[in-house]
Symmetry: C2
Subunit: 435 residues, 2 copies
């Protein structure tokens, strides 16, 4: 079983300018293929610190993956340091040099000579191609024949590093580790807590590694299998996961709620609108983050003030007077009004108290009411007691609104959340929150 | 001059579950008081790796600041490791123990005995109080009298760690470092590039350390001074900064554009509305992230489809037909329509092509048109050629819309951006983008 260490270099990382997301990405992908990360080490662009970090990392683990310090400028010292430290000449890789020259020709710009520095590679290193930038990465074996170490050097730009890691480096490490074939499936869920999902999936038979990840307001679970019959085993796991937690699974792999809801609407030829009060445009913002959303999203109304709820959404003044702006009655009227104003198949109204001010004993901060109006269906309403700060209440409310649309389109029951653990503030309310 | 190393511990950090933002925060704050960070080291919750990381970190720097591993469970091993490694008995700190018991009494919950583990402190350590959680931090001197090392241990929960660092640890390190008084001012800018700002501020007389930080779509600059007359020198720097780049500075310190615009509107008793097309609700979302925004934000209209622009914003069909939905003419009509519909003092209309699809040679992806209507002022319109992906175009467009409101309220000229470097795609357009 081989293990790995990660090196991140760059002054921006040790001065607090930039958070190191490369290390997170690499650790996650190594985990996926069953390689343990012993440690992550970060230093600035200084020769002495680079020498120290490479020396220590090579003591620490079989494979060392480093990012950063491959650029053309004077403070890009990685290759130079490696050459000195491991006693390798640096040689120009003609193919890489030609590619760099070609890129500059392509963009019709003169090439400063220092760019060729990026074609200098330690003797004996194997190139890791970079299709998105000028600096390639490389890997090479160091250490002794009895105790070999494998070092991998990649650029620090995440957009370039990520495909280089997944397309070239990981398959090579998987081969090195002799882990055989590895496969995984990731299920994205909403409306169930991490511990609730864990309990629901406990005891699924078969050999797999289960990893849960809470990413507010969602929880994902990934199952990794290795060895024989990967596809059949993943399919069997999937059947069991859907049987136990199906209504909470909104998608698989790299996706999000707005993309899934958008896909469903487009597939069915449906349109949607939102009458937003406490979410203040967040639902529309999320939905329109998806390219092509104009085919199902025609518009929406952010009705913060009561007067706007009346005038643009046609909520009767008497209803506002009788039940208050934050009420299921008003949420239902907002949904009907948004559907009428935007002329859509479905509309959701959202009104609540995002906080930190504005709460009362009767209607505390975090109380959010939802209504949904749709053709050929009675308007439904519901309220949930959410918790967290203003940002979380807005985000969670927007997620519930999108999930209502998903459930309506799929014919699933209305969302039931937060049953496990968190006690509702009032018996008739749902309670839901982070964690 | 003392330097520092940062240790982050936790399995979640070496399995890719969590990105280490603690190290970024600590490095940034150490930088502010002039302490250099030599390196950041991250390991999971294993005794051998903890011993390794503490040993190496103490070789590396004068001060070692660590986060994580102070909780009550079996995988919280920091204090145990430190006790063994530095030959210190662990003793119960009675005051801390009593505080933990009291917290559980306060929340009316039985206390599992393992919680008292958090009151175990290495002999001779000085407590760093934690007002927001159960586990305190501590610091102590190790090493030899000739070559002392100072170690600081803090909880991994950012909400608890941050005030402990800033209120207790940093003043102590500043004293240790003998750096004397340190002061700084941070200016938040928009509409000028990092290099443009650097050029504008070049050569300001006086001794200070200038740090630029690009955080798309903004750039901030911080000046740090140490020694005597700190306040007077910071004031002199401030005068010079405003004289050279004043119209781009929207605020100082920890703030953001939506909070500044909200503050201005509230102060002047003005209301605002947005007619959003390509930003799809993002402007309203940002504005309503600010608590108390209901005093100046009554509502807004997201008009994606032409029909909605006509019906809800009163944009004449003929105007849409003649100039197209993405045009300055339509942006102006959207602003006027939003102002009429929501009955506000000011309104901004935004229409553009966020991409990646929908661009033409005439109107490429990233073209965004703005209009502003206000009482007692003619409607103004303008278009900018933005660049970046869909997310960036939306974000940058929302920032421009908010900045237009700021400039209107302050009587500043309309935004001129991206002049330096990036050539406009068409001579009559502004070009602006990241970096």
């Amino acid at each position: 079983m081989i293990d790995a260490a990660i090196i991140s270099t760059g002054d921006e990382l040790v001065t607090g300018r930039t958070t190191d997301t490369n290390a997170t990405f690499i650790a996650d992908r190594l985990m996926q293929i069953g390689v343990d990360v012993v440690g992550v080490m970060t230093v600035g662009d200084r020769p002495d610190r680079l020498r120290w970090v490479w020396t220590e990392a090579c003591k620490l683990a079989h494979v060392v993956i480093a990012t950063g310090g491959l650029g053309p400028t004077a403070d890009d010292l990685t290759t130079e340091t490696i050459g000195v430290l491991f006693g390798r000449e640096l040689v120009i890789d003609e193919e890489v040099g030609e590619r760099i020259r070609e890129l500059f020709r392509l963009f019709n710009r003169p090439m400063p000579e220092n760019n060729l520095k990026q074609a200098l590679i330690p003797e004996g290193a194997v190139i890791v191609p970079n299709t998105l930038g000028t600096a390639p990465g490389y890997r090479m074996q160091v250490g002794t024949p009895d105790d070999p170490r494998h070092i991998v050097v990649l650029p620090g730009v995440p957009r370039e590093m990520k495909p280089m890691l997944t397309e070239t480096v990981l398959p090579w490490i998987a081969g090195l580790a002799g882990t055989g074939r590895v496969g995984h499936r990731t299920f994205q869920t909403f409306g169930i807590s991490e511990s609730g999902l864990d309990a629901a999936l406990a005891g699924i038979p078969g050999e797999g590694r289960w990893q849960y990840r809470a990413n507010f307001p969602e929880v994902s679970v990934r199952v990794t299998v290795r060895g024989d019959d990967i596809d059949a085993r993943l399919e069997a796991f999937g059947r069991e996961v859907y049987a136990r937690a199906g209504q909470h699974i909104y998608g698989e792999g790299d996706t999000n709620m707005e993309a899934v809801v958008g896909g469903l609407l487009r597939e069915r030829g449906l349109t949607v609108a939102f009458g937003e009060s406490c979410t203040g445009g967040l639902v529309a913002h999320r939905l329109t983050n998806v390219s092509g959303s104009s085919s199902y999203f025609r518009g929406g109304i952010n009705a913060y003030a009561n007067g706007i709820k009346e005038r643009l959404l046609g909520v009767p003044a008497a209803l506002l007077e009788k039940h208050g702006a934050v009420s299921q009655e008003v949420a239902g009227a907002m949904a009907e009004g948004a559907r009428r104003a935007i002329e859509t198949d479905i509309a959701v109204g959202i009104t609540g108290i995002a906080g930190p001010d504005g709460g009362t004993e009767e209607k505390p901060v975090g109380l959010v009411c939802f209504g949904m109006a749709a053709k050929d269906a009675p308007t439904v309403t519901r309220q949930y007691q959410l918790w967290g700060n203003r940002e979380w209440v807005k985000l969670l409310a927007s997620q519930i609104a999108l999930d209502w649309v998903r459930r309506y389109v799929l014919g699933l029951p209305l969302l039931e959340i937060g049953r496990q653990g968190a006690a509702p503030k009032k018996p008739q309310q749902e309670s839901v929150g982070p964690g």
